[in-house]
């Protein structure tokens, strides 16, 4: 990884940081609103794994923000560059497809983690949080961010127009994140939907992340780690192959 990679990473981070009110403050506010509304309705009525509902909800919202913003960063940067044509600035220099991938995905992870930290900071005052196993928190945040950042690269390269990207986001990413146990434990679901949830990789990211806070979770964190690591490996291989072939980038 050379200076080309670090410059592309720097540029991608600077890009979202320059419009931080949209890319950081807005998603933090959204997560805060979810917390206020759901905890107002459900606090005192629901306990999950012996944890009060608001405490349970906070890590879910943090991780959901990490994932959604990681996806948003790489996908929107790429589609904007493609639509405006300034993608040539990164295609003309001697940047390898590996460096290209690493820079976009890492910048996505940075955005996800920055927003996630912001959400944590804004919400941690509302309920007690443990940090039972901080290593799991870090591992799942980084790997989840990388997976969604990688998906964002795929979507950004595949989409030719903004509405195609919006479809990818609204019909795939949003349902997968909302139906992953951010707001509930999947143990509270009917057996059929429990089964369905076990096929949603994002469930494992949220569940493993939450395990880091409370030391309890729906699935074993090792099981979650295996699923998430496999997903990351497969997506990385798939995305690298697209980039190597120059899919939709080099005609």
């Amino acid at each position: 990884m050379g200076h080309g990679f670090s410059t592309l990473l720097y540029k991608e981070v600077l890009r979202f940081w320059k419009v931080a009110s949209q890319t950081v403050a807005a998603p933090v506010l959204t997560a805060l609103l979810y917390l206020l509304i759901f905890s107002h309705v459900l606090e005192g009525h629901v306990k999950i794994h012996g944890v009060a509902y608001t405490s349970f909800l906070i890590p879910g919202l943090v991780m959901m923000s990490v994932l959604q913003n990681a996806f948003a960063n790489s996908s929107s940067s790429l589609i904007q560059s493609k639509v405006t044509g300034n993608i040539v600035f990164v295609l003309l220099p001697p940047i390898s497809y590996l460096e290209f991938f690493a820079a976009y995905v890492l910048a996505a992870v940075v955005r996800g983690v920055v927003v996630g930290a912001g959400v944590l900071l804004a919400t941690c005052w509302f309920a007690p949080l443990g940090f039972a196993a901080p290593l799991w928190i870090i591992v799942f945040a980084l790997m989840g961010g990388a997976i969604l950042g990688s998906l964002g690269v795929i979507a950004g390269i595949w989409a030719e127009k903004f509405d195609q990207l919006a479809a990818f986001q609204n019909f795939l990413i949003m349902p997968l994140t909302f139906l992953s146990g951010v707001f509930y434990s999947i143990n509270s679901l009917p057996p059929f939907w429990q089964q369905v949830s076990h096929w949603n990789p994002i469930f494992y990211m949220i569940d493993g992340f939450r395990h880091g806070f409370f030391g309890v979770s729906d699935a074993s964190p090792w099981h979650s780690l295996a699923v998430v690591a496999t997903c990351l490996a497969l997506l990385t291989a798939f995305t690298l192959n697209l980039l190597k072939r120059g899919y939709k980038l080099r005609a």
């Binding site: 080309g4 592309l8 540029k11 044509g85 220099p93 001697p94």
Partner: protein
């Protein structure tokens, strides 16, 4: 010394459209080379293939001896491309854009050279302006600057003066000429034929993806265009002269090869009793060459 650009048997089609058809070109280091052709002739596709933006179906391209596919890192370091489209990154200032572009090429601490480029392109007062705030002409200058941050020995400009004002054209050509004099190889596509005529030492003309003419500018002008003596006169034009001449709007155009031929021509006209009201000498121009080559191609003479 190896050639600056070598293009061998390059073909590329997009669906049913044959954008490039077995193109062969070799451009020497230090040349100022013109790539001309009507819209859709394949000029931009050829440049894109050279820059690695388009992958040819067949054939190879190299820049300073480095294959653009197998040795793309070295090839791209040798090449600076000014794209035709007026593209920019709205998030950054002019200086930020140039620093970032330098970084992509692996160059740190490029400020001295960036300052020099900014100065030469008249961009210094705009160095800290956001790209969005610049006029079209200024954005075009930044595109040129971005292509030069890594001091490439080979510079390709794809219609750099399309829709820009006279001042920028002159600033730009003065700068590009200096770069050429300093040893940079320049490849230019343009629709302004007088520009190509005054700048380029050698020219290739493309039509429907094929090279249909390739020669020095001087040779092309000699082969396809002539001097003309244009006269507005009263009286009868001698029949043998009238035969080889064209007449329109009261003007006769008499072709001739060398300036020594002008006096005898004028003498013949006078002897025939014509009195001359007005006189012009038309030089061979690339536009005429271009039209003749393209018409010849349309009739299938070039095949």
């Amino acid at each position: 010394m190896s050639v600056a650009i070598r293009i061998q048997q390059v073909s590329k089609s997009f669906g049913a459209v044959q954008a490039l058809d077995r193109v062969d070109l070799a451009i020497e280091p230090g040349e100022f080379f013109g790539l001309l052709g009507p819209n859709g002739a394949g000029k931009t596709t050829l440049i894109s293939a050279l820059a690695g933006l388009v992958r040819p179906d067949h054939g190879t391209l190299s820049v300073m001896g480095h294959d653009v596919q197998s040795d793309y890192r070295a090839a791209r370091r040798q090449l600076g491309v000014v794209p035709q489209e007026l593209v920019f990154d709205p998030f950054f200032t002019v200086r930020e854009s140039l620093k970032i572009q330098s970084g992509y090429f692996g160059i740190r601490d490029n400020d001295a050279w960036i300052d020099e480029i900014l100065e030469n392109l008249g961009l210094t007062p705009k160095a800290n302006a956001n790209m969005r705030m610049l006029s079209g002409g200024m954005k075009r200058r930044v595109l040129v600057a971005q292509a030069l941050v890594h001091r490439p020995p080979v510079i390709v400009l794809d219609e750099p003066t399309a829709g820009v004002d006279v001042e920028l054209r002159q600033t730009l050509w003065a700068f590009i000429r200096r770069l050429n004099e300093a040893g940079h190889t320049i490849v230019l596509t343009t629709h302004y034929l007088e520009e190509a005529e005054s700048l380029c030492s050698r020219i290739a003309m493309l039509q429907s993806g094929r090279v249909v003419a390739l020669d020095t500018t001087a040779n092309l002008l000699r082969r396809f265009s002539t001097h003309t003596l244009r006269l507005r006169c009263r009286g009868e034009m001698p029949a043998d002269l009238a035969l080889g001449a064209a007449q329109s709007g009261g003007w006769w155009s008499l072709p001739f090869d060398r300036y020594e031929d002008v006096e005898p021509l004028l003498a013949r006209v006078r002897e025939a009793g014509c009195s001359i009201d007005d006189l012009e000498i038309g030089k061979p121009d690339l536009e005429e060459v271009f039209i003749r080559v393209m018409q010849g191609e349309a009739r299938g003479e070039g095949r």
